[in-house]
């Protein structure tokens, strides 16, 4: 793997990769901090991370390139996406400034910071690139890394175990709910059901010809909306005023459905009566 990118022969190849992916990653990073939707931010971060994985491969770090894809993009970013989905995929952020001029000040500070760093790098006389050919020679990149992990950095490696236990314990503390009351048995559940107002199943949501969304309420025979037909979780998520697929309010949509239905039924009645007349 280390032989794939030899320093000299692939210099032009490397600069092409660099310029393409550098532009892409900076654009994605800028997009990440500027777009309003949280999901887009997460996906743009994925673009940056994948570009970095390619940079690692080019920089003679094949093992890290894979770890970047598997651990960072694969696990860490997916965790982010899970949380974004729980919080609400459509969640956007209001872009109104609470502290006036904060954004401009942050941008100015950022530009000053990066200009200072780049100027510094320009003045720093970096030694010539040695390349990792020698370091990767004895047994390859992975073996070289293993040698360091289990000798020079063995203590840090062992201490990370404390970190991982803390993370697992912390997630348990904040997310695990212990059952305080005993779990109701099947019998208790059925008895509670019989004693409740409604023994029969709840009405299904209004999946009609024009709508098949679970957040469309069903219509009762008298044309009114049945609140019970939509799961309260979904109704709450949409703030109670869920729009239908055509951008109408639920009441309007339900009324629309009702008129359509009535028209269809009336037409059918008309057709039926015509058929009856003909038969006579």
């Amino acid at each position: 793997m280390s032989g794939v990118v030899a320093a000299g022969a692939h210099q032009t190849g490397e600069s092409v990769i660099f310029w393409v992916l550098a532009v892409a990653s900076v654009a994605a990073a800028l997009g990440m901090i500027l777009v309003r939707k949280v999901v887009y931010s997460a996906l743009l971060l994925a673009v940056v991370m994948l570009s970095l994985a390619v940079f690692y491969a080019v920089n003679e770090a094949p093992f890290l390139a894979f770890v970047q894809v598997i651990v960072y993009t694969g696990a860490v970013l997916m965790l982010f996406l899970f949380v974004v989905m729980v919080v609400g995929v459509s969640s956007t952020e209001s872009m109104v400034e609470t502290i006036r001029g904060q954004r401009v000040a942050a941008a100015v500070a950022g530009i000053a910071f990066v200009a200072l760093l780049i100027l510094g790098f320009g003045h720093a006389t970096l030694p010539a690139t040695t390349g990792l050919k020698d370091a990767n020679a004895a047994g390859g990149n992975v073996l070289g890394l293993a040698r360091l992990i289990f000798t020079k950095y063995v203590f840090a490696f062992e201490v990370t175990s404390a970190l991982l236990i803390t993370a697992a314990l912390g997630a348990m503390v904040l997310a695990h709910r212990e059952r305080i009351t005993p779990k109701p048995t099947q019998r208790q559940l059925s008895e509670a059901r019989i004693r409740s107002d409604r023994v029969s199943p709840l009405p299904p949501p209004g999946t009609y010809a024009r709508h098949n969304a679970v957040d469309m309420p069903a219509l009762l025979p008298d044309g009114t909306v049945s609140e019970l037909s939509v799961s309260p979780v979904i109704a709450r998520r949409r703030g109670g005023t869920h729009e239908d697929l055509h951008g109408e309010l639920p009441e309007v949509a339900a009324k629309h459905e009702a008129t359509t239905l009535r028209a269809v039924v009336e037409r059918q009645v008309e057709v039926d009566s015509k058929v009856e007349e003909k038969e006579k």
């Binding site: 890290l64 942050a106 997630a171």
Partner: protein
């Protein structure tokens, strides 16, 4: 090429830092911190190649492990506050001040 990578990592690091300052959704702020850590890793990896030692790659590897643990704890805390307030905006977290 090391200089190029360094400049790129500085730019990405700064973008992440500015993101932390201007965004108000806790999840996005945390993603910006992750961007900063990634930029740091890029610097480590390119320095590693420059010096011809694998130490930089090891450090980048450790950073990934630490970041993974940090993400677990951080997202658990953010979820906890989201569940009690139905908002993940840091502007709504304003009970403590003065």
């Amino acid at each position: 090429m090391t200089g190029h990578y360094l400049v790129l990592s500085a730019i990405l690091f700064t973008i992440g830092g500015v993101g932390v300052l201007i965004r108000r959704n806790a999840i996005v702020i945390f993603m910006c911190v992750e961007l900063m850590l990634n930029a740091t890793n890029l610097a480590f990896v390119s320095f590693s190649r420059m010096h011809g030692t694998l130490d930089g790659q090891i450090i980048a590897f450790f950073v990934m492990v630490v970041a993974a643990a940090e993400v677990v704890v951080g997202l658990a805390i953010i979820m906890a506050i989201f569940r009690s307030r139905k908002s993940s905006s840091v502007d709504d977290a304003n009970l403590l001040k003065y």
